[in-house]
Amino acid sequence: MKILVAVKRVADPENMNKIKLSPQGKIDTTGLEPKASPYDEYALETALRLTENGTNTKARLGEVVVVTFGPKETEPMLRAMLGTGADRAIRVDSTDEALDGDVVARGLKALVDSEKPDVVLLGYQQAESESNAVGQMLAEYLGWPQATFAGSIQSQDDKAFVVGREIEGATAELKVTLPAVVTVLDKIVKPKSVQSKHTPATHTYSDGVRFAALMAIMAAKKKPLAEMKLSDLVPDATLKVRYASAELPPKRAAGSKVKDVKELVTKLKTEAKVV
């Protein structure tokens, strides 16, 4: 099985409460370390689990291609992903200002047309824009089915996936016949979340994503990393949405500490009037 994984580089999600506004009223993330968007890392881990026998993760039983739309600075992220097990990487040269979800989706559609993967995996949303849109748009452009909010995947002989979609207070089981687009939540990297064609059902993964061994990082230097022009994939990349400005939400001021339960209840009754 061949899987295309879309990954976006973002400012450190753990420190997003430190972002500032530039004098021009734009979001300023200087000082925040660039990282792969966490859900995209989970998408890569999912792709690796689907294309291997978990008891021998050295042999890739399929092909995993990672793709990003971004500037040259995103290449270390792609190299790191080659180190963890992806076979090839593609960077579509662009800057965030030249992209919206629709352009990324059309670019991915063009790549799917040439790469012909069986599955495209994405994060359910990227950590900066949190649009939660690219996967669904891509599925529509391709005329493919989609499974969003995936917390689990069970492969049926790589012909169909039964996907556990984590939605409000429930799990919705959806069966998609491949090829399909799947967007993943963090729950997808729990030890038993992915049941691939090759891995025995008894196998348990460790929780979370795998790390690259030093040897693998060295070897990954030889793996192909292709560069493409955005205009080759999307001849008319006119944006359908653009950010006019940004603002910081009003800070929730820290309130007061109460000395004991009695004072807490008094305040809730007489001051906040919520109980």
């Binding site: 420190n15 849109a133 690219v134 089915p145 399909a180 940004a246 906040a272």
Partner: protein
């Protein structure tokens, strides 16, 4: 008719409350609006929506459960009616559907907005980004726009009386993708408590509650008529059911009162609850980040504080 098309969400032939948030959006932007209801039992559900001041309610009876079937029909209704804005509430239903409809209409999509401003006929959409640490103002440059609205920021519209005419329409023909997506089943948690998304009070617990999660929190939730929530760490460890998770990858809640019990206040947890009106934190670590956003902080061992709180609430109610 130019104007706004509200996409209703129905389940088992009944209109879901989420729909009323999308109606609030339509009222806020002004001008005429219609509501479309797609699903089995749509005609009956449409009647429930006739009292909200829509020019009409369009019912499309169809066994559609997956967005591969829904999107072509919603797009067709939007095109046929010449609507310039299509709005749905940003529940998982809306988030699944809206981007596909946008592509079908060649429309720009403003996802998960928390405010709309109409300026000389032009709409600007404000949306939370960066785990709620910034708001971006989004402009849609296409003539037709698709929008999804946050339920917590667009309060449910009240019925305004009157009776909008109900019109029946037929579904769009199935596209190939429809045959390749099959809804199998819905597995719901079996909670007797109020739904997290709609509760007036939410009591949430963290990993520190361990096996005593229920034993400690249920009496407090009972005393307050509250829904129970949890941090991801508590869910991951199996102390709380997975559907109770509050945060970026769990539910977004904005109750009148949110009580965080033994929760550290990680950025991803805060993203899901900082819209709450009043936040109380109980934590034994005075430097826990949750105190930075709590209106009332109590530094104490939760195993002592919570039972005491229950007694105190009961004796003073």
């Amino acid at each position: 008719m130019a104007g706004t098309l509200v996409v209703a969400e129905i389940a088992d032939g009944k209109v879901k409350k989420t729909t009323q948030s999308a109606i609030t959006f339509a009222r806020q932007v002004g001008g005429p609006f219609a509501v479309v209801v797609v699903g089995s039992g749509a005609a009956g559900a449409a009647k429930e929506l006739a009292g909200f001041g829509a020019q009409k309610v369009i019912a499309v009876d169809s066994p559609a459960l997956v967005c591969e079937k829904l999107a072509p029909t919603v797009a067709k209704v939007a095109k046929d009616g010449g609507f310039d804005t299509v709005v749905v509430t940003a529940s998982s239903y809306g988030k699944d559907l809206a981007p596909r409809v946008a592509v079908k209409l060649g429309a720009g999509y403003a996802p998960d907005i928390n405010l709309v401003k109409v300026d000389g006929g032009k709409k600007l959409y404000r949306r939370p980004m960066y785990a709620g640490n910034a708001f971006g103002w989004l402009e849609v440059t296409t003539p037709v726009q698709v929008v999804s609205v946050r339920q917590t920021e667009f309060p449910a519209a009240e019925a305004s009386g009157g009776a909008s005419p109900v019109e029946n329409a037929s579904p769009a023909p199935d596209e190939p993708a429809a045959a390749r997506a099959e809804h199998l089943k819905l597995v719901t948690g079996s909670s007797e408590r109020p739904d997290l998304g709609e509760a007036r009070v939410v009591v949430s617990g963290g990993r520190s509650l361990k096996e005593q999660f229920k034993q400690v929190l249920e009496p407090l939730a009972d005393a307050l008529g509250a829904a129970i929530g949890a941090s991801r760490a508590a869910c991951d460890a199996g102390y709380a059911a997975p559907e109770l998770q509050v945060g970026q990858t769990g539910r977004t809640v904005a109750p009148q009162l949110y009580i965080a019990v033994g929760i550290s206040g990680a950025i991803q947890h805060i993203a899901g609850m900082k819209g709450s009106k009043v936040i109380v934190a109980i934590n034994k670590d005075p430097d826990a980040p949750i105190f930075q956003i709590a209106d009332y902080g109590l530094v104490q061992d939760l195993f002592v504080a919570v039972p005491e709180l229950v007694t105190e609430l009961k004796s003073r109610s």
